[in-house]
């Protein structure tokens, strides 16, 4: 039975740890009873992998289920929060792309893109403020969680996020020092090495955001949040969706205004162009914002449907 047990242990890795500790031994015994020393058929192995992933998804705070309104409100707010990093990435790309745009734009064509740019900035500040307020609302429950000695449940996820953050900070400091050692011409000359390093740097930042997102989902799913806290978090989720909509609308308006009145600002950009008014960075940012906005809308709908059934 040793070989079966080894195979069962490997298959059980698809399931979350809490599920394994409750049902793992029983499922292993069932596999032993059913297949003896023989191999578990490929179809059953795939089925176990699928069920394990399904169980992980079902236990994640991001999945609502169809019952408890508190769980639905919490998952809706978390979906909105997890959509925000898409805007952080897209907003960062947009900010880099839009550097010095006004200097290259005729004064008569500036007012509309300037107003749109201000909307993007205001939306970003509002969104960051809402996220900070959401963290403050959850802080007492998080402190209670830590006092209950449950830190080790989050230790692995937070350790990965902290390690990636350290790597990102190191990479940022390295990039800044490198940039200051270059002349303006050298800094603005496109090279394969520069593009590769820039891509790796961007990937590092994305991985850091994803790791923190994972840690936050793991933490929030374990917090004892009162109905009142969930109501406030739900209201903040709606506000965050509003901030995302403002950033998206501002970006699209800025883009469209410059493409119409000053297309050279876009086509001459150092970050590349696919033709008049069509820039890969803006297309990517737009797609990210659209995806984030869509996911956040799903989250807000879930929150709004759950809120009337919530008791403070």
């Amino acid at each position: 039975m040793g070989a079966v047990r080894g195979r069962a242990d490997r298959l059980l890795r698809w399931y979350p740890a809490t599920w394994r500790s409750r049902y793992g031994e029983e499922l292993t015994a069932l596999l032993e009873d059913t297949y003896g020393d023989g191999r578990v058929p490929v179809g059953q192995r795939l089925s176990l992998a699928g069920r394990g992933l399904h169980e992980r998804a079902r236990r994640s705070a991001l999945i609502a289920g169809d019952g408890d309104p508190a769980r639905r409100a919490r998952s809706g707010s978390l979906v909105v929060l997890c959509s925000w990093p898409a805007f952080v990435i897209a907003g960062g790309a947009f900010a880099k792309y839009a550097e010095h745009w006004d200097a290259a734009t005729p004064p008569s064509a500036r007012w509309l893109p300037a107003a749109a740019y201000d909307v993007v900035v205001a939306g970003a500040v509002a969104g960051a403020t809402v996220v900070a307020l959401g963290a403050l609302v959850a802080l007492p429950a998080f402190v209670s969680f830590l006092r209950a000695g449950r830190w080790r449940e989050l230790r692995a996820a937070v350790a990965v996020a902290v390690a990636l953050t350290a790597l990102s900070v190191t990479a940022t400091v390295g990039a800044v020092l490198w940039a200051h050692g270059q002349s303006t011409v050298q800094r603005n000359t496109t090279s394969v090495l520069g593009l590769g390093l820039g891509g790796a740097f961007a990937l590092c930042l994305v991985a850091t955001l994803a790791a923190w997102c994972t840690a936050v989902v793991a933490a929030v799913g374990r917090l004892e949040l009162s109905g009142r806290s969930l109501q406030v978090e739900g209201a903040l989720a709606v506000a965050l969706l509003g901030a995302m909509a403002a950033v998206t609308a501002g970006t699209v308006t800025w883009w469209a205004a410059l493409a119409t009145s000053a297309p050279r600002v876009l086509s001459d950009n150092l970050l590349g162009s696919w033709g008049p008014g069509l820039a890969p960075v803006l297309v990517g940012a737009g797609l990210l914002m659209t995806a984030g906005l869509s996911a956040a809308t799903v989250g807000v709908v879930r929150v709004v449907r759950a809120l009337p059934s919530l008791t403070p």
């Binding site: 599920w19 049902y23 031994e25 029983e26 499922l27 292993t28 015994a29 069932l30 596999l31 009873d33 059913t34 179809g43 059953q44 089925s47 176990l48 699928g50 069920r51 394990g52 399904h54 169980e55």
Partner: protein, 104 residues
């Protein structure tokens, strides 16, 4: 439904459940499917684990599980009666008052 029906005859562990369901329903439940269903039924309070070997823990119906199974059986019987009546299959109709025949 299959698991609740099997447990209505008495407590069983995973392997015995799978075998029983295969015998009375002709359905083969894989280990992943079976334990996915057991997880959800236990979370909903319809079945519970009994004391026993940790590796082959038997499950039994709870009162809520028995009531849920009885309700489902009644609904299915009512549906079967309508179908039988509309198809003219008189031999399949219960004849007896439903409340008396299907009370849990």
């Amino acid at each position: 439904m299959l698991i609740l029906t099997s447990l209505a005859a008495g407590p069983k562990h995973g392997y015995a459940l799978a075998r029983d369901i295969g015998e009375f329903a002709g359905v083969t439940l894989g280990p992943g499917t079976l334990y996915g269903a057991i997880t959800r039924l236990e979370e909903r309070g319809l079945i519970e684990a009994t004391a026993g070997d940790d590796r082959r823990r038997p499950y039994r119906l709870t009162a809520a599980g028995r009531a849920a199974l009885a309700g489902t059986v009644r609904d299915m019987r009512a549906l079967a009666d309508v179908g039988a009546r509309r198809l003219g299959l008189r031999a399949l109709l219960t004849g007896a008052p439903r409340g008396a025949a299907w009370a849990p």
